[in-house]
């Protein structure tokens, strides 16, 4: 099956353009990231952090979490995370009130910057906890996101 991909030019700025190849299924060049089952199945953020060896994370102001104070729709909550802790190699996200709080870890290697944008589901108003890992140590920050339902289905 042939897929047509289109490149998108972002207007303005020093935009570079990427052309897309036809969609191909490639064999990954190296093993994909592991998936930490016990952390993902943990029912509390604390348990998940323990499973990931992050239980001792210390509070840090060098982690910036940009998320809505009140999310318009809990099904799609945009979160931007930036760590300014030198040597940050990964960022992990926990939505404390979700049934399974551990939402994921993003690994930065070979020069990718300690920044990620992700959109998550939040079932009810909840603290969103972030852990940044740098030099084998763990740092954490938290941001409260309110979720309202509201509306009559329009």
């Amino acid at each position: 099956m042939q897929h047509t991909r289109r490149s998108v030019i972002k207007a303005g700025g020093a935009a570079a353009l990427l052309a897309a190849f036809g969609g191909v299924l490639l064999k990954p060049g190296r093993a994909l990231a592991a998936w930490n089952k016990s952390a993902f199945e943990a029912k509390s953020a604390v348990d998940a952090m323990r499973a990931l060896g992050m239980a001792n994370a210390e509070e840090s102001k060098a982690i910036e979490i940009r998320a809505p104070e009140i999310a318009e729709n809990g099904a799609v909550v945009p979160i931007d995370i930036t760590s300014s802790i030198p040597g940050t190699t990964s960022i992990s996200v926990f939505i404390e009130k979700n049934p399974f709080p551990y939402t994921g870890t993003f690994d930065f290697s070979q020069g990718s910057l300690p920044y990620v944008h992700v959109r998550v589901k939040i079932g009810e108003s909840s603290p969103v906890r972030v852990v940044a890992t740098a030099g084998g140590k763990h740092y954490t920050a938290v941001k409260e996101v309110k979720v309202t339902i509201g509306g009559c289905g329009g």
Binding site: T148, I149, G150, C152
Partner: protein, 201 residues
């Protein structure tokens, strides 16, 4: 014969062209188009496209009927209000709050339960921040207007048939169309009128 009708048509066209300003009424076209294009679904049958006398007057006069027309129809609507047989106008405000929150009822996919959809359009209780503004705020309804029987009757009657009080209001006629039961309307009236209801804090 054919020629003659062509001539009449031409004359008609000329007449139309000469009086360009007064627009023709598109309502008959609109209605026949809708009757052709819609179909019944669930409880929403095709007769819902037919205007009743109130709807017809509001449609005809763009929601601003002459006083005489409005008065007459409002009186008719008011005469149709079925007041509770036991004479009690107020029920339980707690269940009224639940009914006010419930937006179900009369849509083609609705099965069973019918609510009042009240918060869709009105501010009511102080602890619900998700409320609409199509209708006026009802917060402190009785505290502002008084708790007397007249106001109770107005509250119940307005819920039963809002058109009895203001012919072309956007508020549905919950009792008149059989959407809400007598008990539900009593409970809603209590939500507005009961001194213990949070509405009257």
């Amino acid at each position: 014969m054919r020629l003659a009708s062509a001539a009449i048509l031409a004359a008609g066209a000329a007449l139309l062209a000469s009086c360009a300003t007064p627009q023709r009424d598109y309502r008959p076209d609109a209605l026949s188009m809708m009757k052709r294009d819609f179909h019944a679904r669930g409880t929403a049958k095709m007769d819902r496209l037919d205007e009743d006398t109130v709807q017809a007057a509001c449609n005809k006069y763009h929601d601003d009927p002459p006083q005489g027309v409005a008065d007459k129809l409002q009186q008719e609507q008011l005469a149709g209000v079925k007041w509770p047989a036991d004479g009690k106008l107020l029920g339980d405000w707690r269940s009224g709050e639940k009914i006010a929150q419930d937006g179900r009822g009369m849509a083609w996919n609705d099965k069973g339960g019918v609510g009042g959809s009240c918060y869709n359009c009105h501010q009511i209780g102080p602890r619900e921040s998700s409320f609409g503004t199509v209708g006026p705020s009802l917060y402190q309804f009785a505290k502002k207007r008084g708790y007397g029987t007249d106001i109770q009757r107005y509250a119940y009657g307005k819920i039963y048939n809002a058109k009895a009080y203001s012919l072309c209001t956007q508020m549905p006629r919950f009792g008149h169309v059989g959407a809400l039961t007598e008990q539900q309307m009593k409970d809603l009236a209590a939500l507005l009128m009961d001194p213990a209801s949070p509405v009257n804090e």
